[in-house]
Assembly symmetry: C3
Homo-oligomer: 383 residues x 3
C-alpha cells in the first residue's frame, strides 16, 4: 500500500479514497483538480479558464494561489477581485468577478463539497469492544456500541446503541450512557452519571466530580455530602476540558440541546435549561438555574443560587450577581443591561477628564462666590 | 443476577443492596417506601398518613410529588405547605405544616439518611493492583493501596497505605504519595511530586507541569529552569482539571487543609497557606504566597510575587495587583476593600447621568458668570 | 539496590546517581556537602568556614538553615546578612556579606549547578515502543521515537525522530508529529493534527476538538462544519490542560516559537503569530489573528474575528473587543492603552467622593443663583 501525501494543510499523509489524484512535488503528493473537473463533480456550470488548477479550498480571508473560495453576498463578491484565490464559487446569475468561477444556487453548499474533496474521508469507528479496552463483566453494552483501545468501563455501566467510547475514557461504576453518543478520549465520568442520547463529550472532560462545598468545623474544611449525580439530557455537546460537578442530594442537570464550550465549569446542583449556549471558561457556581435559550459568553461568572430566566444573553467576562427576570442582554461585572453598560463604559474613558473638570468647576464656583462676597453686593441673608 | 432499575435520578440501574424494594413501572423499577416505613427505618415519629408513598428525597427548592423533603428553620417551614413534596421532615415540637411529616431532633441528619436509602450503596475499591494496571517493578506500593485498571505507575514511585489510584492516572518517576489518598482517573503527576496523607486529587488534574517562565534570547523564548517540584501537604483536595506547576529551583507548595475547586491554576514557586479555599477558574501567578484561611473567589487573578496575609477574602472575578497586609474582604479588578468597591460599583451605574450633570453644571456656571460679567456689577479685580 | 532518601524537598526517595553522599537522619537520608566541597565541585573560590554544611540550595526569599543561596545585584546582596541561608554565592570581587560564600563570575550559573547536585538526575526515556502501548499497525514511527506504557496511537499517525509520547496520550488517526517533540501524559490529539519539530505539549491538553460554532435551526443548535484541522508550528510549548479547537474549513494555527500557559483556550480558525506568549486561562475566540511577539496576560479574553498587530501586550484580565493596530500595552475590559486605563482605575476609587462633590457643586450653584435672583440685582435678560 502506498501512503500518499495529500494537500491537507501542511504535511499530513492519508490513504487516498477513490481514484488517486494529483502529482508529486518534491516529497509531497499534492491533490489537485482542474476547475472544469470540480464543476463536473459538483454538477454546476463554470465560467473562465476550465483548466485552472485548484489545490485546496479556503474562505476569502485566507485564500491564496491554488485555492477555490466562495462568495454569496455583495460584501464578499466585491472582495473577490482583490483576494488571492485562483477561482471562486458565486451565486448563479450574479455579475462575473474577473476570475474563473463556478456558479451555484447555494455557493456555501458547493464550497463545503469541494472542501470535502480535498480532505481525508471521514473516519468510521467499527462497532464492538477493542481487545485492548477494559470492560467490567457486569457492564451492559449494546452490540453496536464501539469501545476503543485503552478505555476502561467499570461495573454496572450501561452503554446504548451506536455510542462510541474512545481510548483513555474512564467510566466509573453505575453510569448510564444512551444511544448515538460520542465520548472522546481521556474523559472521566464518575459514578452513577446519566447521559441521554446523541450527547457528545469532548476529550478531557470530567463529569460527576465532587461538589465544592465545605463547612468549617474546628478550623478545618469538611466536605459536604456527595449523594447526588449528574444528568446530561439528550443532544448536549460538552467541549474539551469542561467539568460538571455532581449534586449534593439530587442531580446537577444539563438540559436537552444545550452546548458547552471548552473549560466550562458547572458546579453542584445547577439546573441548566434547554438549548443554552455556554462559552469557554465560563464558571457557573452552585445551584444556579437557567431558563431555555440562555446564551452565556466566554469567561462569564455566575454567583451561586442565581436564577436566570429564559432567553437571557450575557456578554463575555460579565459577572452575574443577582437573579435576572427579564430576557435581555446583560454586560459587565456586576452586569447590567448592555445598552446601559456600554454607556457606562463610554463614560469611563473620560473619567480622568471628568475629575479635572469637576475640580475646575469647584474652583470657578468658589471664585464666583468670592467675587460676590468680596463685592459685598449680595447679602448672605438673601440665600 | 437480575439488574434492577432504581429511582436514582432518571434511569440508572444498579444491583440492589439489602432487601429488594419497589415495583415495576413499565421498564423501570422504582424504589419506594411508605412514610411509616421510613419513620421506622430512621427511628423517628411521624404524623399524617403513614401510607404516603415516598419515591425519593429532595430539597424544598426542587421537591416534587413522591419526594420527602426537610425544613429546619422558620423560612423553610413556611414554604412546606406550598412546595411540591409529598412529605417533610421537621424539628420535633414545631407546628405541623399540613402535609405528612417525620419529626426529628436533627432534620438534616435524618434527611441525609433517607437520601442514602434511595441511593446505590457506596462503592468500595478493593486493595491491590489490577492486572490491567502498569506498575514499574521499582515502585514501592503499600499492600493496602489500590491501583485500578489502566493506571500507569513509573519507576521509584511510592504509594502509602490505603491510597487509591484510579484508571488512567499517570504517575511519573520518583513521585511519592502518602496514605489514604484518592487519585481520580486521568490525573497526571510529573516527576518527584510529593503528596501527603488524605489528599484527594480529582480527575484530569496535572501536578508538576513546567513553570511558565521564559527569557527572550536572540528573538526566541527560552524556557526557565525546572529544577523544583510540587509539594501537596496533608488533607488537600484538588478539583477536576486543576493544575499546579513545579517550582523553578524549589517546591511549589499547597498548605495542609487547603481546598481547590475546578480549573484552578497555581503557577510555579507559589506557597499557598493552610486551609485556603480557592474557587473555580482562579489563576494564581508565579511566586505568590498566601497566609492561612485565605478564601479566593471564582475567576480571581493574582499577580506574580504578590503576598497575601492570613484570613483575606477575595470576591469573585477580582484582580489582585499588589500585596495585601490586612485581613479583610477585597473586590474588583484592581481589587480594593469590598465596602469601598461596592460603593464604586453603585456609582458606576450613574456615570452617564453624572457626566450629563457635570456638563449642565458647567453650562450653568458659565451662564452665571456671563450674567455677572454682563451686568458689570462685579469687577474682575474683586476675585 | 538500596533506595535512598534524598534531601529533595520533603520526602522523595530516589536512586542516587554517582557517589553516594550524605547521612541517615532517622528514616531520611539527607544529601549534604561542605561549602569547600561545593567550591571544588564548581571550581570557584570560597571565603569563610569551608566546613559549613550545605543540605540544599534555595533563592533568598525562601532560603533557610543549611541552604546555599545566591545574589548578583546590590538589592539581593544587601539582603544576605539578614536572610536565613547558611552560605551564598556572590559575584567575584564584591564586598563580603558576613556569611560564608562562594565567589563566581556568574553566580546564577553556579547556583543552578549546585541545585542540580541536590536534585535527582534528569530522566531519560528510552527509544522504542513500550509493549504496554497500543500502536496501530499503519502508524509510522521513527525508530528513535519513544512511546510509553498506556499510550494509544491510531491509524496513519506519523511520529518523527526522538519524539516522546507519554502514557495515556491518545492520538487519533492521521495526525503527524515531527521530531524532538514531547507529548506529556493524557494529552488527546484529534484527527489530522499537524505538529512541527521541538513542540512540547503538556499533560491534559486537547488539540483538535470541535470548533464551537452553531446555527440555530428550528429551535435547535446545529453544529458547524469541522473540516479543518490544527497546525502547531515548530518550537511551540503548550501548558497543561490547554485546548486548541480545529478549524471550520482550514487550519487553526499556532505560530513557531509561541508559548501557551495552562488552561488556555484557542478557538477555531485562529491564526496565532510567531513567538507569542499567552498566559493562563486566556480565552481567544474564533478567527482571531495575532502578529508576532504578542504577549497576552492571564485570564484575558479576545473577541472573535479580532486582529491584533505585532508586539502588542495585553494586561491580565483584559477584554479585547476590537482590532488593535498599534503596538502598545493595553489594559482593562474593554481594553484601552494601559497609561490611560491606569488613570481611569485611579479615578474610579474616587467615584463615590466625586459623586458627592458633584452634588455639592449643584447645591452651591443653585444657592448662588437663588442669592442672585433673590437680590434682584441681576436681570435675567443679561444672561
Amino acid at each position: 500500500m502506498v501512503a500518499l501525501v495529500s494537500n491537507w494543510p501542511d504535511r499530513v499523509r492519508f490513504a487516498a479514497s477513490g481514484p488517486i489524484r494529483g502529482a508529486w512535488e518534491g516529497d509531497r503528493f499534492v491533490k489537485q483538480y482542474t476547475l472544469a473537473e470540480l464543476a463536473s463533480c459538483c454538477a454546476v456550470p463554470f465560467d473562465g479558464d476550465g483548466s485552472t488548477v485548484i489545490t485546496d479550498a479556503a474562505v476569502i480571508a485566507v485564500a491564496g494561489s491554488g485555492d477555490l473560495t466562495f462568495a454569496r453576498d455583495e460584501v464578499n463578491l466585491s472582495k473577490l477581485s482583490s483576494c488571492g484565490a485562483s477561482a471562486a464559487i458565486i451565486p448563479l446569475g450574479c455579475e462575473l468577478p474577473g476570475l474563473p468561477v463556478l456558479m451555484a444556487d447555494d455557493p456555501t453548499r458547493v464550497f463545503v463539497n469541494v472542501v470535502k474533496l480535498f480532505r481525508p474521508a471521514p473516519l468510521e469507528y467499527p462497532a464492538g469492544i477493542s481487545p485492548l479496552a477494559h470492560v467490567d463483566s457486569s457492564a451492559q453494552l449494546d452490540d453496536t456500541a464501539s469501545v476503543q483501545a485503552g478505555a476502561v468501563i467499570a461495573a454496572n455501566v450501561e452503554i446504548g446503541p451506536r455510542s462510541q467510547i474512545h481510548g483513555g475514557v474512564q467510566i466509573l461504576p453505575g453510569t448510564r450512557i444512551g444511544s448515538d453518543c460520542v465520548i472522546f478520549p481521556n474523559v472521566t465520568i464518575y459514578e452513577h452519571v446519566v447521559i441521554g442520547d446523541r450527547v457528545v463529550v469532548h476529550a478531557g472532560c470530567v463529569l460527576g466530580g465532587y461538589g465544592f462545598g465545605y463547612d468549617l468545623v474546628d478550623g478545618s474544611h469538611r466536605l459536604g455530602y456527595q449523594l447526588g449525580n449528574v444528568i446530561i439530557e439528550d443532544d448536549v455537546d460538552i467541549g474539551p476540558c469542561s467539568t460538571i460537578d455532581r449534586g449534593t442530594f439530587g442531580p446537577t442537570r444539563i438540559g436537552a440541546g444545550t452546548k458547552l464550550d471548552n473549560h466550562v465549569q458547572i458546579a453542584h446542583n445547577c439546573c441548566i435549561g434547554h438549548h443554552n449556549i455556554i462559552c469557554a471558561l465560563a464558571g457557573i457556581a452552585g445551584s444556579v438555574t437557567t431558563g431555555d435559550y440562555v446564551v452565556i459568553g466566554g469567561q462569564v461568572g455566575i454567583r451561586d443560587h442565581t436564577k436566570i430566566c429564559a432567553e437571557v444573553r450575557v456578554g463575555a467576562q460579565s459577572g452575574i450577581m443577582q437573579d435576572i427576570t427579564e430576557p435581555n442582554t446583560y454586560l459587565g461585572s456586576p452586569a447590567v443591561q448592555d445598552q446601559q453598560q456600554l454607556k457606562t463604559f463610554a463614560v469611563m474613558r473620560h473619567l480622568p477628564e471628568m475629575r479635572k473638570r469637576l475640580r475646575q468647576v469647584q474652583r470657578e464656583l468658589s471664585e464666583l462666590k468670592s467675587r460676590l462676597d468680596g463685592d459685598g453686593l449680595i447679602s448672605e441673608d438673601a440665600a
